[in-house]
């Protein structure tokens, strides 16, 4: 395999990691029946907090943990409002996104001219030195492997554990789940926090691995694409990886298009990931026969209020 092909495959993988993190978190949230549209805001907070901690401590591990905590803190605002104060999920999620973009820009003002140390790829003795496979399979940063691991863990949790079953039941019918004694609010709050943590790590991946610096609004709609990915994946964990690779692929091909002799203004190429999101959502509906999405959690976005 030639060098360019390897570079492209590596690029696609790296581009898809933040989407995998954010989408797998949102998938669990939505499976519990909550629609959190604040992913973009939680991601950008993860990006800036991760960068700030990396700049001051130089510890990659600490910065990723801090980014996760930042995402969870943001998510806790959402959880508090939607679960305790019964606010509308859509409005609260939007507020969270606007708030997050604002706070991140506010913090980021003092960090706009610096670069930080990139979280570097692992080097596993012998394995990473293998030709082709060495860089394609064993040549990534630790977060890449964590992303794949999280997808497995979420699949295992949702479909192989009792608590996962309860979480899905709550998402499908919170009143029935409540009636047989399950803690609807507790499950949902934990799911929302998990979603926030994952979005935070996804954001940190942008500012610590992809581009080790702060650019205002650097999440550039990836939080929203992640939400679209959950729909694309029909709420199935493994399909998230497929979707993320498609989007990662488009954003990388757009960078390499000029190299292949495609001469159209850069702006039109940059539109591709967003247009692709729409096209994928449409083609998904063309492919399915029924009018409603059968895998969608029935209580998605509905406010739960126990009367007893």
């Amino acid at each position: 395999m030639d060098e360019l092909a390897i570079q492209i495959i590596l690029g696609i993988s790296v581009a898809s990691v933040p989407l995998i993190f954010a989408a797998i978190g949102e998938l669990v949230v939505e499976r519990s029946g909550v629609l959190n549209l604040g992913v973009e805001g939680m991601m950008i907070m993860g990006a800036i907090i991760g960068l700030v901690v990396q700049y001051h401590t130089g510890s990659g591990l600490l910065s990723v943990i801090a980014a996760m905590a930042a995402g969870m803190l943001m998510a806790s605002i959402f959880a508090f409002l939607t679960q305790l104060f019964l606010t509308n999920h859509v409005a609260t999620g939007l507020a969270l996104t606007l708030f997050g973009l604002g706070v991140a820009a506010f913090i980021g003002k003092n960090y706009s001219d610096i670069t930080v140390t990139r979280i570097s790829a692992l080097h596993i003795p012998w394995f990473s030195d293998l030709p082709v496979i060495g860089s394609l399979v064993f040549g990534y940063d630790p977060l890449f492997y964590l992303a794949i691991l999280m997808v497995f863990l979420v699949w295992w949790f949702l479909f192989k554990t009792k608590r996962g079953l309860i979480l899905r039941a709550i998402g499908d019918n919170h009143d029935a789940a409540h009636a047989i004694g399950h803690q609807v609010i507790r499950y949902r709050v934990l799911a929302i926090l998990f979603g926030g943590g994952m979005a935070g790590i996804g954001g940190a991946y942008l500012s610590l691995v992809q581009v080790p610096m702060w650019v205002e609004g650097m999440s550039a709609g990836r939080g929203w694409i992640a939400i679209a990915l959950v729909v694309f994946a029909s709420w199935q964990p493994f399909k998230v990886i497929v979707g993320a690779l498609i989007f990662g692929g488009i954003s990388i091909l757009q960078l390499h298009a000029q190299a292949f002799g495609v001469y159209i203004p850069a702006q039109y190429l940059s539109m591709l990931p967003y247009l692709m999101t729409i096209i994928v959502l449409v083609s998904l509906r063309i492919g399915s026969k029924s009018n409603t999405n059968r895998t969608m959690p029935n209580c998605l976005g509905k406010v739960f209020h126990s009367t007893s």
Binding site: L37, A220, I227
Partner: protein, 355 residues
């Protein structure tokens, strides 16, 4: 424990009290942020909340900023009532500015009174067409309009950039990415001499009246309200769900498009890449703060315009980044959403230790 109990009827007292409580909490939180940024709190408070209300310049700029917010929020509020979530007004605003602006630029050497109305017409069509994509995909393929309108916003931002770098670039502009400056016939009339306050504010007020009439007095208002709160009942009543989606998206898209043109042909005066400043997103907050009420939107758009002015003042005199505005706007909406629970619910704090 906090005990939340549904009221049988929404509390009239709380409809007034909830926003006041939310404002108070936001003011307290901002003071805490000022303290944390080690600023003189009283001075910062003055700069942020009082100064924008003083003097000709500040007051006129308040109108300049409230006009697009009001116009977009009025359109969005109609859709939100029906449960149609047009989140991409920012995109429709941009497309409106481009299509209306392109007409103005095409007739750049024509002096005529029909030019502005023609530009406005093109802008409304542009905004409607752009929102219409979401309506088509939602009604034909059941694709979620939130995601479509949002993705199209990113596309619109890039399209504006492509336009001002390409076909609409000023041919005598030394290759700067901006259009020609709109000539007098292609610029909005000023309503307050010596300021940038333009006719758009008056038009927005007119739209507030029209929206109030439609939502409160007209059958269509009834239809969208029921479609939003009880979709099944709406279907039994014979209301066509697809029609509601089309109408609400076209109305909100058209108004956003018009707001975009008014910004380009008003205070900005040309097409530039930084034309979109987030009014389309902020208008969502404006609509919610007003609880989707058209007359309420008149006031909340002025209130949010105040936070923009406050943010600009804070940037100049206190050296705070302008993004503080979005922080405060987000916070205000959080508090407001939380306080809203008081309108529909009774909240009792009980301390039952035995439980």
């Amino acid at each position: 424990m906090i005990n939340i109990e549904q009221r049988t009827d929404s509390s009239a007292k709380m409809v007034i009290l909830a926003p006041i409580l939310a404002l108070t909490l936001t003011a307290i939180s901002t003071m805490i942020i000022f303290l944390w940024a080690s600023l003189d709190v009283m001075n910062a408070f003055y700069v942020f909340y009082i100064e924008p209300l003083t003097g000709k310049y500040n007051l006129s700029e308040l109108l300049v900023k409230a006009a697009p917010l009001m116009m977009i929020a009025l359109g969005l509020s109609i859709g939100f009532r029906a449960g149609v979530w047009n989140i991409g007004a920012e995109g429709q605003y941009i497309i409106g500015a481009i299509s209306g602006g392109a007409v103005g630029l095409y007739y750049y050497n024509v002096e005529a009174t029909w030019l502005i109305p023609l530009m406005a017409f093109a802008a409304v069509l542009g905004g409607m067409g752009y929102a219409g994509i979401a309506a088509f995909l939602r009604t034909r393929f059941q694709v979620n309009e939130i995601l479509v309108t949002l993705m199209l916003t990113y596309v619109a931002i890039l399209f504006l950039s492509a336009m001002v770098f390409g076909p609409l670039r000023n041919p005598d502009g030394f290759n700067f990415p901006e259009s020609r400056i709109f000539h007098d016939s292609a610029t909005l009339p000023i309503i307050w001499q010596g300021t940038r306050a333009h006719i758009g504010f008056i038009i927005a007020l007119l739209f507030a009246g029209v929206t109030w009439f439609i939502t409160k007095k007209h059958m269509f208002g009834m239809q969208i309200k029921i479609s939003g709160s009880a979709p099944r009942a709406a279907r039994f009543a014979g209301f066509n769900e697809n029609k509601t989606i089309w109408y609400t998206l076209l109305i909100s898209g058209g108004l956003a498009g018009l707001a975009g043109l008014f910004e380009a042909a008003g205070p900005v005066g040309q097409l530039v890449p930084h034309l979109p400043v987030g009014y389309g997103f902020t208008a969502i907050i404006v609509a919610f703060l007003a609880r989707l009420h058209p007359i309420g939107i008149v006031f909340t758009s002025l209130l949010i315009a105040l936070t923009y002015m406050g943010g600009e003042n804070a940037q100049i005199t206190l050296q705070l980044p302008s993004s503080i505005t979005s922080v405060f706007q987000g916070m205000l909406l959080f508090y407001f959403l939380a306080c809203n629970v008081l309108i529909e619910h009774k909240v009792a704090f009980s301390f039952n230790w035995s439980k």
